[in-house]
Amino acid sequence: MLYIVLGLSAGQALADSVIVSLDVKAQAINKNFLLAAFAMRITRWPDGRPIRVFVLPDRHPLHQRFVKQRLQVFPYQLRNNWDRQVFTGTGAFPVTVDNMEEMYRMVSQTEGSIGYIADSVKLSPEKVRVVDEF
């Protein structure tokens, strides 16, 4: 597990990390899966369990950066997707957390969860796992 922590501090190219709860089996996540999961278009992990998505508020600088750099869409597009799904009964909102500490805590405590965090936050490999993207 040590290499994950090391890899994290060395990974300057990607400003932020995708984190999942320890029970999530995926070691690496396809970019299309990442967008579909955060857009709440798909709702289950490949093993069939529900995906629990955590995000920071729309105006949070990390949210804006993560959505633009990693998901390669604009925050307003995600917001439009969520609103459209919730108010037609066809989908749900992700859970919005107030800050990175809460993000870290919620992802570590919720089964099947996914979120993101700035590389400046020191992570314990016993609590959350960083996943690579391909």
């Binding site: 709702t43 490949p46 529900p50 629990r52 919730v86 108010f87 037609t88 009964g89 909102f93």
Partner: protein
């Protein structure tokens, strides 16, 4: 299969279940409760829009909704929304079941998500129809009325039936598909919209199919949509066949084809939609023998500009021709001995709007409409077509709170 009963059962089941869960476990990830309140104000220099707007303005417009969704199992969800909408004489504010559905998703991968929804469903037409009453999903206070006309809203709002849906990974992006079959809601407003009067009999026994495909490229930077539908509204005459406005027993047939396109950049979005809507009154006869089949042609082009998260601007041109072969309405007006003026058969609306989100839960909008023609004005708010004015302006304000 009677879809109406299915919807009632679903409503009772889901609401009882959700209320129980909500009371016992408010931290539950499987349950959600959301809603919104919208209040509008409309002022017009001529003609009426959502109430008696041409006198001192009208506050006769609100939209209030509460919805709840529950995930029973990873594959099965239930959701419902109750809504009250007041809109001049078109909607009286009574509580309505907006949707109540069960959603079973067989397959849920990025390559292929497939599922079925049954119950009362929002109608997947174009880009905006499903959320037309939800202020913060609209680009403006009023949606472009040429495509999303408020008059026939009950027909366009929800349908009791089933939808087969899927989201497929395709080269360049993904494809969202919806295929719908069901019984549309047909009330008096629908008669106003398609007959221009409240006919003595009733529209009942209706059904329709609709299909929509939306291709999203590059994470939704480009979206292209195609919607097609065929509706059949059965008309049953009243008791007095001698009335001037009575019609034969038969079906009013509605066919719709709409093309949608959108480009999304960081600070701006360009959206356009084009619709052909064919009305076939041949079986109903009566006053419609004069013009038994007509095609409505509509389009709009809209530019949204986002200065930052809080402020946006909207510019739109919206064009409606109730008879595409008679763009100035002169022939249609003459057929009715000028009972309806020519400008009652088209409308050209130039809209300028501004939106402000001071906080995530609040949205305020202001909007100016400069309109030539009265084609989409509601008869219910303007009962005497002969006093309508061809050129008119509207100013509107809207406040929305969501939770």
């Amino acid at each position: 299969m009677n879809f109406k009963h299915l919807t009632t059962l679903l409503f009772m089941g889901i609401s009882t279940y959700s209320a129980g869960i909500y009371a016992s476990d408010s931290e539950n990830h499987n349950l959600s409760v959301n809603g919104f309140l919208t209040q509008g104000f409309f002022y017009t220099d001529q003609n009426n829009l959502y109430g008696e707007s041409s006198d001192n303005g009208s506050f006769d417009f609100h939209e209030i909704a509460v919805n709840s969704a529950y995930r029973f199992t990873p594959k099965l969800r239930g959701a419902l929304q109750i809504m009250s909408r007041q809109a001049g004489n078109v909607d009286n504010g009574e509580l309505k079941l907006d949707y109540a559905l069960l959603d079973y998703r067989f397959n849920d991968s990025v390559e292929k998500a497939v599922g079925v929804r049954a119950g009362r469903l929002k109608i997947p037409f174009g880009f905006y129809n499903e959320t037309r009453d939800v202020a913060f999903t609209r680009p403006s206070i009023m949606l472009p009325q040429s495509l999303y006309f408020d008059q026939a809203r009950d027909l366009e709002l929800s349908i009791d039936g089933v939808i087969l849906y899927s989201s497929l990974e395709v080269p360049g992006g993904w494809l969202d598909l919806d295929l719908l079959y069901g019984s549309p809601q047909t009330d008096t407003n629908v008669e106003y919209a398609y007959f221009a009067f409240d006919a003595p009999g009733k529209l009942n026994d209706s059904d329709g199919v609709m299909g929509r495909a939306i291709y999203s490229v590059d994470g939704g930077r480009i979206r292209v949509g195609l919607t097609g539908s065929e509706y059949r509204l059965g008309y049953k005459p009243g008791n007095d066949p001698t009335l001037w406005n009575e019609l034969n027993e038969g079906d009013l047939k509605l066919n719709v084809l709409a093309l949608s396109g959108q480009y999304n950049a960081e600070n701006w979005s360009l959206t356009g939609e084009y619709m052909l809507h064919e009305l076939d009154w041949r079986e109903l006869g009566g006053v419609f023998t004069l013009n038994p089949v007509t095609t409505i042609e509509s389009y709009y082009l809209q530019l949204q500009y986002r200065f930052n998260y809080s402020w946006d601007l909207l510019l739109r041109y919206d064009d409606l021709k109730l008879d595409k072969d008679d763009p100035l309405g002169k022939q249609n007006s003459a057929l009715l001995n000028n009972a309806r003026p020519a400008h009652n058969f088209y409308a050209k609306d130039l809209t300028l709007g501004v939106g402000w989100r001071p906080a995530p839960k609040w949205l305020f909008r202001a909007e100016l409409h400069n309109v030539e023609g009265t084609g989409w004005l509601a008869e219910q708010d303007n009962p005497d077509a002969s006093v309508l004015r061809k050129y008119w302006n509207a100013f509107s304000l809207q406040a929305t709170y969501r939770f």
